[in-house]
């Protein structure tokens, strides 16, 4: 089977999975207690007249029968027409702001995590069996067991409340609300100052996984025969590690990086809630609390779509990077 056929088949799979995911979302959102209509009416009825309420229902398309709404829902998502939030304007506008902020936070955190994780993982594998190795492995296992909200809270307590080094929540200095900084340097420093604690929390929480993954991948290769051959030929250890082992070990790591990058857009619900960071995670959490179905549909659609595409890209990359792999 050639590459073209593989791609065609995968695209069909992707469409099926996407359709399944969208349908499931539609079912779940309509299953939420009392259905979105009732929830919405309940929240709003105290504040408005019946006519206005019907008008609004019409506006959000809540008066149509279920199957029509389903078709409408799929069509809207596919055409990137996300409609209006029940509470705060156009979903696309709402999301655009949050996506930018979340990408700042997640991008910074993922960047540090991946670099740090790969570096430490390689060191651990290279010095396998040593004290450094056990310390790194145990440390990584440790990060798996700490609840992130608690870890984040302790970081917040120590660095924000006790030492007063960083702000405990928010996204930029309050003074900026009236006087948005014009030069890029002030902006960057102000943002970084507010990003520091959530970033540290996220890095601590996720770095363990990267260390273990890298370590396992490198270990798998470092014991291979070709390494012994290279050593026997007198190739420098450094060259063996970076030229030979890392090249082979990098495949699963690259897959994970692609998936992680795609996953960034979803934000981090718990960290963002903890530090009151107005990103996608907090938006998701608040929308669930408000039964804001249009927003939730859009968030689920975008994150799902990106994950599906990332999986596809990762599979393709595998073949590009490793000529041994044949599709089919």
């Amino acid at each position: 089977m050639g590459l073209k056929k593989f791609i065609a088949q995968r695209i069909i799979y992707m469409i099926i999975v996407l359709w399944l995911a969208l349908t499931a979302n539609f079912i779940i959102f309509n299953m939420m207690p009392g259905s979105p209509v009732d929830q919405y009416v309940q929240k709003m009825s105290a504040r408005m007249t019946q006519e206005r309420l019907n008008e609004l229902k019409e506006h959000f398309g809540l008066t149509k029968p279920l199957h029509e709404r389903y078709i409408q829902y799929i069509w809207n998502l596919l055409t990137w027409n996300f409609g209006h939030s029940y509470y705060s304007g156009a979903v696309s506008q709402l999301m655009a702001d949050r996506v930018a902020r979340t990408l700042e936070l997640m991008g910074l955190a993922e960047f540090i995590t991946i670099i740090l994780g790969i570096l430490l993982g390689t060191i651990a594998a290279y010095k396998r069996g040593s004290l450094t190795d056990s310390a790194l492995v145990l440390g990584s296992l440790f990060t798996y067991s700490v609840p992130i909200f608690w870890l984040g809270w302790i970081i917040k307590l120590v660095f924000a409340h006790e030492l007063n080094l960083f702000p405990s929540s928010g996204m930029y200095p309050e003074a900026w609300i009236r006087n948005w900084p014009k030069d890029i340097f002030t902006y960057m420093s102000g943002r970084l100052y507010h990003l520091a604690l959530p970033t540290i929390t996220l890095v601590l929480f996720t770095v363990g996984g990267w260390i273990l993954l890298t370590r396992a991948c490198v270990l798998e290769n470092i014991t291979e025969d070709y390494v012994i051959t290279a050593r026997a030929k007198g190739v420098k250890e450094r060259t063996i590690l970076y030229r030979h082992v890392m090249k082979n070990a990098s495949l699963p790591i690259i897959t994970s990086v692609v998936l992680a990058v795609a996953g960034m857009i979803g934000g981090a619900i718990i960290t963002e809630t903890l530090f009151n960071y107005q990103g996608m995670g907090l938006l998701t959490w608040k929308s669930i609390g408000n039964y804001d179905i249009p927003v939730l549909s859009a968030i689920f659609y975008v994150t799902t779509l990106l994950t599906i595409i990332a999986n596809f890209v990762a599979d393709l990359l595998y073949g590009v990077l490793d000529p041994r792999i044949r599709y089919g």
């Binding site: 999975v17 995911a21 959102f29 296992l141 609840p147 006790e162 619900i269």
Partner: protein, 484 residues
Amino acid sequence: MALRKEKIKFTLKRFKGFWTQYSKSKQGILGLAIVIGYVILAVIAPYLSPYEPYAPKLKGYYPAGTNPKIATYLAVPIWYKTLLGMKDLSENLFPIKDHAMSTVETITSQWHWTQTKGATITPSPNKGDREDACIEINFTEPTTVQVWVTFNYPYKNSPKEFCIHISVLVQDKADITVSIAKGEVDTYTEQVRDISSGKWTHRFIKSGVASPKLMAQTFPEPGEYSLKIKVTSYGNNTVRLDNIDLLIYGEAFGLLGTDGNVDRPRDIFTTLIYGTRISLIVGLLSAAISTFLGLLIGLISGYIGGMVDEALMRFADFLLVLPTLPLLIVLIVATSATFWNLILIISFLGWMVFARQIRSMVLSLKERTFIEAAKVSGASTSYIISKHLMPNVFALVYITLATSVPGAIITEASLSWLGLFDPSIVSWGRMLNEFTNSQAMILPFSQYWFWVIPPGLAIMTLAIAFILIGYALDEILNPKLRKR
């Protein structure tokens, strides 16, 4: 029969062999010890603590309303007094014995009165509100009488709050005042209000929670105090007093203090050990269900193949591409957050990766000759799956069981922290949720640490224990890592 015996012997021998290997792993033993410790705590929780974990109340008869709380909110741990040398801290003091006045003896042994002209005070054996004993005062002319009980308040610091309970029955109009006195001087006085004539009136008199000034005034220093009930009648009258109790809530309480629920503080130690049950059940059950699902789906999908495989794997893919935490939250909100829903939803979203693993193992096992042989000799699909494939993948089942417990525990804690907890259960995550939603954060850390640090540490150690067990099992059972 003989065959069965042999079989058991073989299993035992295999287990022994496994155990010798396992016991060599220090991490594995540590993990197992921690888990066993937690299991014991979870089982004997009711014997370790007399309090209820959810909404603890004092036991006894308090007809004025729900039974009073067990301690004041955010009381510090009792060992502050010995270990930190803070000897001055006040403790709970409930000076009155048998406040329900069930017998005349308990009345005469602690209550005092002086007989005044125009009034006779007698302990009555059967005129109480429950036909038990009570103090009866018969007035023949207008006068004021006093009954009191003395007690020693031994602590240098004032208490945090106190609460007085009293039941009275007056035939005609009478004024009743309750007071606390140091020596002859009343340090606190309060009238029993709205007494209806001819029937029992039950009242709580509470000092209020945040009144250090009042406390310092009422209990300024250690010494002999008395609780006095003053009854003033304006003529011929009968007054009965029953169920008089004084509850003094101190600053220190319990092994880990109390939490910040002002109305009904919980004993943190109790909540913590009962929380062990929840985390263990959620963790183990979710891990078991998801591992079982993964095993089943992986076996079926791998062995049967074709459309079944295609359908099951696309279903797994679809669950994997949806954002996990948002999906969990949405599902729980959609189905309401009950304990069992949490377990089922966590397991429903946790089987996919394991199913894929099993499937790929089965795919390679399927091609081996022993399966061919079984097929040729006419073994059914279910027989091959259960007798030939299952034993070959079972090592992975144990490992996955152990390693998916911590994930489930942390997920439950995170969901509870977000507020998605079963309202009838206090889990570790919920303790932290209640902390986050309280105003305690503005206090200095020393005043609330015992509310936040223990549940977090508990979650962490339990999760770590299972990770260590999984790690040890992985080293023994995983054929890839097995040392040759």
